[in-house]
């Protein structure tokens, strides 16, 4: 699987880097666009010293972990949300006759390596926050990013699976994928309690960076979950990934190829 992914991604990378100036420009612009979310946080902290009970570096830590996971998933899997385009163009048929899983082929379709700019921006912010905070449970940070990446990969898989049904309004899935990415950029303590509960127990977004982040920061959960709840992130991520895999299979099995 990994071999096929790398193979296909490399093919698209070669195509994208055929125009190096344009490629470099898009990498830089990706970095700047992602920087806008950071600018919002910095402007907020130009006006206050705490947001939802968290200081600037803590918020940047939560932003950095969430963004790094999200931008990595965006780089690696976001092309899955073009399923409905492939259905309308008929190109899904040609994907399905290859001896490689459709998921891999669609995830790598038009793989766009310039998105690495956003990943770099997120990594830089996380680097800064980790250095500024002197964390004790630093070992947990890479695990957080991996779990977040898995959760977002699962979300994009759901988004793709959903498009087998929603061929008319594929943009709806953006609210889930990009919306989830935006949701976890800020400390969840700012949101309504019901929303946070729903995103803990139903759609486990709280496990991207919030609960494990509280554990790393040594902070109490405002909703009263024990501090070890953050350690459940890998389990939550794997369960979500398994469910999204089932949804994807259902989508493929219910695919109704149209036209000749």
């Amino acid at each position: 699987m990994v071999r096929s992914y790398v193979l296909l991604a490399w093919t698209w990378t070669r195509a994208a880097t055929a125009y190096p100036v344009s490629f470099a420009l898009m990498t830089v612009f990706g970095l700047v666009v992602a920087g806008m979310d950071l600018a919002v946080i910095l402007i907020i902290f130009a006006n206050t010293t705490s947001l939802g009970g968290f200081g600037r570096e803590e918020v940047l830590f939560l932003y950095g972990t969430a963004s790094l996971a999200f931008t990595l998933a965006d780089l690696l899997f976001s092309n899955l949300d073009r399923v409905s385009q492939h259905i309308r163009a008929g190109s899904l048929d040609t994907v399905l006759i290859r001896p490689v899983s459709a998921w891999i082929q669609l995830a790598t379709d038009r793989f766009f390596p310039a998105r690495i700019g956003r990943v770099l921006q997120a990594a830089a912010v996380l680097w800064y926050a980790v250095a500024a905070l002197e964390l004790e449970r630093l070992w947990m940070v890479p695990l957080m990013v991996v779990c977040g990446l898995v959760i977002f990969a699962a979300l994009w898989t759901f988004a793709g699976a959903l498009q087998f049904v929603l061929t008319d309004a594929p943009e709806v899935v953006n609210a889930f994928t990009y919306g989830s990415g935006a949701y976890v950029q800020h400390p969840l303590s700012i949101y309504g309690k019901e929303l946070v509960r729903a995103t803990t127990f139903v759609l486990p977004l709280a496990f991207v960076n919030w609960l494990p982040g509280l554990y790393v920061l040594g902070r109490r959960d405002p909703l009263g979950l024990p501090s070890w709840a953050g350690l459940l992130a890998p389990a939550a991520a794997l369960i979500l990934l398994a469910l999204s895999g089932l949804a994807w299979r259902q989508g493929i099995r219910h695919y109704r190829s149209t036209g000749s």
């Binding site: 193979l7 296909l8 190109s91 399905l96 036209g259």
Partner: protein, 245 residues
């Protein structure tokens, strides 16, 4: 090679169940060259897509090379080659030879074996002059030759062709027919071909199946289909417009 037992596929369109194909039962033995005929919307493409595992049958049983296509799609993909006349299976922006190389890697074909097959294809399909050109710049005839080569590079036992000669000029058609005949005769590749071009049928197919309104209406040799009449076109016109039995 192919075995269908009561296979059917229905769709729900505006709460009504539409049977694209129903109750299909037939066998295709290794080495056969079968033409699959039928008017537009008769269910030809649906059948082909069920054979490749693109569509899951809603009833009955489908086996291709002993495998259930919808459950073992990627395993089956290594054993069959598929060509859609209306769209390419090649990578649009990549040069043709890069598409072939990618196929070698995806299908895990041995490098030496691949090189010898490619050499043979380049020669018989006359690919040399446009091997380095991106697929989007190829003419329809060139693209179809590239698609055929791509479908055979991994040495499939079964070749499924959905209207491979559509839109081609007389010379290109003749070239492709020659190639298909040789592939079937020399390698023993089983071929299933849908087409609207009766010339394809007359030139290539020993056996013909006709499908209409999703049901198999005729299955026999070309001679039986003709039944002593002189024009295949007349026979087929009568079949398509009238009732099948």
């Amino acid at each position: 090679m192919i075995e269908l037992q009561g296979a059917g596929r229905s769709f729900k369109v505006k709460r009504q169940v539409v049977h694209a194909v129903q109750d299909l039962t037939f066998r295709v033995e290794p080495g056969e060259f079968v033409g699959y005929l039928g008017p537009n919307g008769a269910g030809k493409s649906t059948t082909i897509k069920m054979l490749c595992g693109i569509l899951t049958p809603t009833s009955g049983r489908v086996r291709v090379a002993g495998l259930d296509p919808s459950r073992k799609r990627t395993t089956l993909a290594r054993r069959i080659g598929v060509v859609f006349g209306q769209r390419t299976t090649l990578w649009w922006d990549l040069p043709l030879k890069d598409s072939f190389e990618l196929i070698r890697l995806l299908y895990k074909v041995d490098r030496k074996l691949f090189a010898s097959r490619l050499e043979e294809m380049v020669e018989t399909l006359d690919l040399a002059e446009f091997l380095a050109r991106p697929v989007r710049q190829l003419s329809l005839g060139q693209r179809m030759r590239g698609d055929l080569a791509a479908a055979l590079l991994h040495g499939p036992d079964l070749l499924v062709l959905d209207e491979p000669t559509i839109g081609l000029d007389v010379v290109s058609k003749a070239g492709i027919r020659d190639f298909l005949q040789r592939t079937n005769a020399e390698r023993g590749t089983t071929v299933l071909l849908t087409t609207h071009d009766l010339g394809d049928i007359e030139r290539l197919c020993r056996r013909v199946m006709v499908i209409d309104h999703g049901r198999l209406g005729f299955d026999g040799t070309l001679e039986d289909l003709m039944a002593g009449q002189s024009s295949l076109e007349e026979v087929v016109t009568r079949l398509y417009t009238g009732s099948l039995q």
